[in-house]
Assembly symmetry: C3
Homo-oligomer: 100 residues x 3
C-alpha cells in the first residue's frame, strides 16, 4: 500500500471565522478540509471571553509547503485579531496524491 | 510511567458508513474507537456532493500491523466507492497493552 | 515563521468528567484546552457500558513536562476508576510561547 507522508494542519477558532478560514486554506492550496464542533479556553484571561460560544476545529491535509503558507497567513492576519490556535503534525495518508 | 508507541488511525467518512466501518475496524483487530461528528469538503468537485450532510471522524488506536490492515481494506473496498479520508499518526499511549 | 515543538495530549472520557479533567489539566500546567463531543467503545466488555451516553475528547497543547504530569495523574487517579483513553503526539505550534 502506498502511504504518503504529508502534514495535518489543525486550526481551532471561533465558528464565525469558518467561512473565511475555509476560503483561506483553499486559496492557499488545500484540496479539502474536515470540520468538527469544538469549544475551549485559551491561554490569556481575555481569551476566555472570545472563546465563549461555539468554536470549530478545522483540519486539512496538505503538503509541507502549503502547511507553512497557511500557518504564515494565520500568524500575520489572524493571530493579532482573533483567538486562534494552529498546529501541524506529520501524518501518513492513503491516496496521498489527492492532497497535493 | 509506561508510554507505548502505537498508531492512531483516523477515518473521515459519510455517517451512513459508521456501522460498517466500526464492524470493519473491530474485525481487523481494533479494540476500541472514538467517533466525533464532522463535515467537510473533499478534493474532487464531485465529492462535495458526497460530503454534504453529516460525516463522522472515526479514530482508533492500534498496532502498526492492524493499522496497515485497516488502511489496506479501505483502499481496496472503500476508496473506489465512497468519499473516505484515512491517515495514520504516531502516538504514545498510556496503558498501551489495552490496544493490542 | 517560528514553529515550536510541543506535545498534544488527547483525553477521551465520559462527559461527566469534563469539569474535573479541565481543572486537573489546568492545575498541572495547561494554559488552554479544546473539547469536542465524542462517543465510542472501549477495549473491555465492561467499558462499552461506561461508554454509553456522551463522551468528550479533550485536547491540550503543553510542554513535555506538563504532558507527562497529566498522563501520570490520569494513570494514578483516573484509569483505575473510569473509562479513559489518553495519548500524546508531537506537534509544531505557531506562537508556541503561549502554551508553556
Amino acid at each position: 500500500m502506498d502511504l504518503v507522508p504529508l502534514k495535518l494542519v489543525t486550526i481551532v477558532a471561533e465558528s464565525l471565522l469558518e467561512k473565511k478560514l475555509v476560503e483561506e486554506v483553499k486559496r492557499l492550496g488545500a484540496k479539502g478540509y474536515t470540520i468538527t464542533p469544538a469549544r475551549g479556553e485559551g491561554s490569556r484571561g481575555i481569551r476566555s471571553v472570545d472563546w465563549e460560544g461555539q468554536n470549530i476545529r478545522l483540519e486539512t491535509i496538505v503538503s509541507e509547503e502549503v502547511a507553512l503558507r497557511i500557518l504564515q497567513k494565520l500568524q500575520e492576519e489572524y493571530f493579532p485579531h482573533y483567538a486562534v490556535i494552529a498546529y501541524v503534525e506529520n501524518v501518513e495518508v492513503v491516496r496521498g496524491e489527492k492532497y497535493v
